[in-house]
């Protein structure tokens, strides 16, 4: 395992159980989860005011925009934000055929492959590395 992640992380996941589980697991590994929410609107407002370094987003956020819509908006607000998209869908088009393109350097991770939190942590590191420079 490489170096520790020092960047601030925001989590957006509409299922409370999943959100609290992933958050606890990431915090258990020393990650700095600065904000967690189920709301797109709240995530955008937080990003505008606090500029987190990393966003871990659920793809299917229930009614309204999906994780890719949010990821694109976050990149508009903060062009160098690292993005990891968590999903239960093997193919994003299953949720919606009109899938927008993921922002450059984003990571797309199938949830059932995250039985070990280290898998997600590695993806976060990759996303940080491949995010556009500030």
């Amino acid at each position: 395992m490489g170096s520790k992640i020092k960047q601030s992380v925001m989590m957006v996941e509409d299922d409370e159980f999943t959100r609290s589980t992933v958050k606890a697991a990431l915090e258990g590994k020393g990650l700095n989860i600065v904000h967690d929410t189920s709301s797109v609107k709240d995530a955008i407002e937080y990003a505008k005011s606090h500029r987190p370094d990393v966003a871990v987003l659920d793809y299917n956020l229930g009614k309204g925009p999906n994780g890719i819509d949010l990821a694109n908006q976050l990149r508009r607000i903060q062009p160098n934000i690292a993005i990891v998209l968590l999903t239960a869908f093997l193919d994003p088009a299953q949720l919606d055929k009109r899938v927008a393109e993921l922002p450059a350097g984003s990571r797309y991770l199938i949830k059932h492959s995250v039985t070990k939190i280290e898998v997600l942590i590695e993806e976060i590191k990759e996303a940080i590395k491949s995010a556009p420079a500030a």
Binding site: T21, V22, A24, D58, A88, K111, H112, V114, T115, K116
Partner: protein, 465 residues
């Protein structure tokens, strides 16, 4: 206006009214279909089927978890045994089946829809023909003139002037007699009058061939023999088609069309019911697939992570609580599927709120509609969700103006204008989930038009049941 353009105008008028009539007919037929036994039973059948398949998959998962639970007394071993079950392969397969459900149905492709539309149009054309043939039949001279017009070119091409002088009067006499018989057949009250009429029209089309063959018996001359493919095939078929089209274009049909006196054929009713059922199946299956992904498969993955973490920490209490919580969800997997019915204002706002921050949305709802609360309100929400998704994802819009207004006693109109740079897929004739939802909810009463600064979407639907 030139005089020559008058028949064209009349024709254009008939086609316009026919198109409008077709639209009204489909709308009414769709509305009837939604109330039909077939649709209601298909709706119930699908709900039961999905519920059954989901319960079966969840019960199988509960069984497989229970089998490996508490067998070793060692958390790490138990965790290892449970983890593969939490991949939820069976549930994943179910969601794949649900996703492809609607698209497997016949006619859900653009090609399939078009073929079906043509078939339905032909069937409806027959009804229009049958009605006008009975209420305003063509005159005898019309029957005669059409055939004469068809046979004149072969007569000119293959007969000498003298022969033509003989052939024409004989032909006119024969055709007039045939027209007389046709009119008589139609005037009879026989239940088979229309069938007999069709047969007679078709047979009449062979008159030129018969008369030419008889002429050849008395005066054999290969140069004056009409080619058999013309008189034996082209003339009878063309005559049959021309007569039917002419009958349908009779001015009286315009009256029938205007007054909606023509009802849907049973074939049309059956086909429309099938389309409505398919749309419903696809929309519902998609909702279920998304629900299973978002609420069950996600939970399985989160539980897998929780068990792994608890097992590493040796936390038996958290480990067991996570399994209990999962089993409780799996015992009642669809508990959160059917949402409560809310009032229209709450429903619309619940669909729009998540988009705020991504899009600028202006909303107007007529005061009288805000408190409407019934099962159709959720469908208003689905339409809004679809059209906002379209504007944002496809059209890259940044602004949407949405109005939900009353339209008559029972209907509402949803009007959305945006600043989308790209037309939505429905505008480009592409058929997808959105089209199905719009059709299903409005019975086909929706439109998308490109306006100067973006796209305008209009949908009319019944809100007061």
């Amino acid at each position: 206006m030139s005089q020559g353009s008058l028949p064209q105008l009349q024709l254009a008028k008939i086609f316009h009214h026919f198109k409008e009539y077709e639209k009204r007919l489909i709308i009414n037929t769709r509305a009837n279909s939604r109330k039909s036994e077939e649709f209601l039973s298909a709706q119930l059948g699908l709900q039961e089927r999905i519920h059954h398949e989901l319960s079966t998959s969840c019960n199988a998962l509960i069984d497989s978890i229970s089998k490996v639970r508490n067998t070793s007394g060692n958390l790490a071993v138990e965790n290892q045994a449970i983890q593969p079950q939490l991949l939820g392969d069976e549930l994943r397969r179910l969601t794949m089946r649900l996703e492809t459900f609607g698209s497997e149905q016949q006619g859900s492709t653009i090609l399939g829809q078009n073929i079906r539309s043509v078939n339905l149009l032909i069937k409806q054309f027959r009804i229009l023909y049958a009605t006008t043939a009975r209420s305003a039949p063509l005159s005898r001279s019309a029957y005669a003139l059409v055939l004469l017009a068809l046979i004149t070119p072969p007569i000119i091409n293959y007969s000498s002037f003298t022969e033509a002088l003989v052939a024409f009067p004989i032909m006119i006499l024969a055709i007039t007699m045939a027209a007389h018989i046709i009119s008589k057949a139609l005037a009879s009250n026989s239940p088979h009058a229309l069938r007999n009429l069709s047969i007679l029209i078709y047979l009449t089309g062979f008159l030129p061939m018969i008369s030419n063959l008889i002429g050849q018996v008395f005066n054999p001359d290969p140069n004056t023999r009409y080619p058999i493919y013309i008189t034996g095939i082209i003339v009878p078929i063309s005559y049959y088609i021309f007569i039917k089209v002419l009958q349908v274009l009779h001015p009286h049909s315009l009256e029938l069309i205007r007054n909606d006196e023509l009802k849907a054929s049973s074939a049309l009713q059956v086909a429309v019911t099938k389309v409505v059922s398919d749309e419903f199946s696809h929309a519902l299956s998609h909702r279920w697939a998304i629900f299973i992904h978002g609420k069950i498969l996600t939970r399985l993955a989160a539980t897998a992570l929780k068990l792994e973490t608890a097992s590493q920490a040796g936390d038996t209490q958290t480990f067991n609580a996570a399994i209990d919580s999962l089993i409780s969800l799996l015992k009642n997997p669809d508990a959160k599927f059917d949402q409560e019915v809310t009032d229209l204002e709450t429903e619309v706002n619940s669909r729009l709120d998540p988009w705020l921050g991504l899009l600028e949305i202006e909303l107007h709802i007529d005061q009288e509609l805000m408190s409407v609360r019934n099962e159709r309100v959720r469908e208003v929400g689905e339409v809004i969700e679809e059209l906002i998704s379209n504007s944002m994802r496809h059209g890259k819009a940044q602004k949407v103006n949405l109005r939900v207004i009353e339209s008559g006693d029972k209907d509402i109109q949803i009007i959305a204008t945006d600043d989308a740079a790209i037309a939505p897929p429905e505008y480009q004739g592409r058929f997808g989930l959105g089209t199905r939802i719009f059709n299903l909810v409005s019975d086909g009463r929706w439109s998308i038009t490109r306006v100067e600064s973006g796209t305008e979407f209009k949908l009319t639907m019944v809100i007061r049941l």
